[in-house]
């Protein structure tokens, strides 16, 4: 399946684009996506954290992704 992933802040800088398209196997989880991103973009290894949001909620490692989900990379937040 094809996942379109929104990027923000330093994640967008590392990837060089505000949307990233990734091919994943059906049934892939947040954890699988994270591994794939760390492999494709080793710059993420240096970050304090990397979370994945699925449909505007924080996903946990076992959350299963589907085509059409709104997925976003959430690097360390710094609002306020």
């Amino acid at each position: 399946m094809t996942l379109e992933i929104l990027t923000f802040g330093i994640a967008r800088d590392i990837i060089g684009s505000s949307v990233l398209t990734v091919e994943m196997l059906e049934g892939a989880t947040v954890d699988d996506l994270k591994r794939q991103i760390l492999t494709l973009y080793p710059g993420f290894i240096a970050l304090s954290s990397l979370m994945i949001a699925v449909n505007t909620e924080y996903g946990n490692e076992t959350t299963v992704l589907k085509e059409g989900d709104e997925i976003a990379l959430i690097p360390p937040v710094s609002g306020g």
Partner: protein
């Protein structure tokens, strides 16, 4: 009652205060963030705030709902700004009213502490000689 907003225009502190004030409460506590002119020894030129908007609003609302259910408070207003902010401008205002002031202090501090931990908003500090995404690296 909640008033959660993400705005690209200057925040109105008095709008947040007006939302929470009521003759049924004894008082309100307001937190006003300010863009500092320095980070450590470095002079900051300006800040750029970026948000994942629908999720940022969701997360701010969740924090306010947790505050409402945890503390005996009456109304909460959280306004956060995005875009380019100059030194001295206000990125965030949190106002909380409560029948008893202790709960308003606790809930207001809880909201800003949690906001900084979970709300998907990112701050870039711009210096004369470069820029950094705050908190990105350990």
């Amino acid at each position: 009652m909640l008033d959660i907003q993400l705005l690209s225009t200057p925040l109105s502190i008095s709008a947040c205060e007006a939302f929470v004030e009521s003759p049924e409460v004894g008082g309100a506590v307001v937190f006003i963030g300010t863009v500092r002119n320095k980070t450590g020894a470095k002079s900051v030129t300006r800040l750029e705030f970026e948000a994942y908007k629908p999720m940022a609003i969701n997360e701010m609302r969740k924090i306010a709902e947790r505050a409402l259910s945890t503390f005996s408070v009456f109304k909460i207003s959280i306004h956060h700004r995005v875009g380019i902010l100059d030194i001295g401008e206000v990125p965030v205002v949190i106002a909380v009213s409560a029948p008893h002031r202790g709960a308003a202090f606790d809930a207001c501090e809880f909201c800003i502490d949690e906001l900084k931990k979970t709300v998907p908003i990112w701050k870039k500090e711009v210096f004369e000689d470069g820029e950094i995404w705050v908190a990105a690296h350990p």
